[in-house]
């Protein structure tokens, strides 16, 4: 989920290249509308217009009663400030990744996310 069309296209290209099936959305409301159990990982920018990324995380978490059922939700953001990181942790996101992300780093991120269920003990 990313309000920036260019960034969205670049990230999609990256994830498709890594073998992922990717759905992209530009708006939070769209994300919540189309989200399904088939989506295992959500990469979201946090500073988008309308409902922000943090609220989307809260809504998605409310939809799933058990942690193992919900998608892994990771912020993908250009904001490097501690406020952003703090907010992401506060809403229990599974990680914060700075974009743009290089290919090998994203490969590694996906591996850690899918193996450990979180990036929170890993520095990216």
């Amino acid at each position: 989920m990313d309000g920036n069309g260019v960034s969205r296209m670049a990230t999609k290209g990256l994830l498709v290249h890594l073998g992922c099936d990717v759905t992209t959305v530009g708006l939070s409301e769209e994300c919540l509308r189309i989200f399904s159990h088939e989506h295992k990982v959500v990469f979201t920018d946090v500073g988008i217009s309308g409902m922000d990324g943090y609220e989307v995380v809260s809504v998605l978490q409310d939809r799933f009663s058990a942690h193992h059922q919900r998608p892994l939700i990771t912020a993908l953001t250009t904001n490097t400030d501690w406020v952003t990181k703090d907010n992401c942790l506060w809403v229990s996101m599974d990680g914060v990744v700075l974009k743009p992300v290089l290919l090998e780093k994203m490969r590694s991120i996906l591996l850690v996310l899918l193996q450990n269920g979180t990036l929170r003990k890993t520095r990216y």
């Binding site: 309000g3 260019v6 296209m9 990256l14 250009t78 290919l103």
Partner: protein, 152 residues
């Protein structure tokens, strides 16, 4: 010009774009993501970027032309342009955006307007450079050759 010379020219030209700071690692990455299943990926992303950057530059011009400048709005536009320029590796454009945002925070209209002029200049420059790059690539493909990978 034969194929080898064309390929050499492309490699040299591309290297110069990195050396002169027009492009960074992220552009190399876009090239790496292009394959048989997505043969026009770089061109498509870059095209989208220039549509987006022109729109944002126009909106910035309008926003800074107001009697009471809404710096929050200006900053939001610059933030978007920073994000998209980062995504394609347009380093000089991105760097101007970083400075621009600082002046937004200071609510300095004059400096913001100077940044906008700089943005127009850098955007135009990198657009011309990338058009040349794509033209050189197309010449090679038309001549039946393949695009060489370069090291920065």
């Amino acid at each position: 010009m034969d194929l080898t010379q064309m390929q050499r020219r492309l490699v040299d030209y591309t290297s110069s774009l990195f050396r002169e700071g027009y492009l960074d690692d992220q552009f190399t990455q876009l090239q790496q993501l292009q394959d048989e299943s997505n043969p026009d990926f770089v061109f498509e992303v870059v095209t989208l970027f220039f549509e987006d950057s022109q729109r944002l530059i126009n909106e910035l011009g309008e926003a800074l032309d107001q009697q009471n400048v809404d710096f929050k709005k200006v900053d939001a536009h610059v933030h978007q342009l920073k994000g998209s320029s980062s995504s394609i590796g347009a380093q000089r454009v991105k760097n101007v955006c970083v400075i621009f945002r600082n002046y937004c925070e200071e609510r300095n209209t004059e400096r913001c307007m100077r940044c906008l002029q700089q943005l127009k200049h850098e955007n135009s420059l990198v657009k011309t450079k990338l058009e040349t790059l794509f033209r050189l690539q197309q010449q090679i493909l038309t001549a039946g050759g393949s695009i060489p990978m370069w090291s920065e």
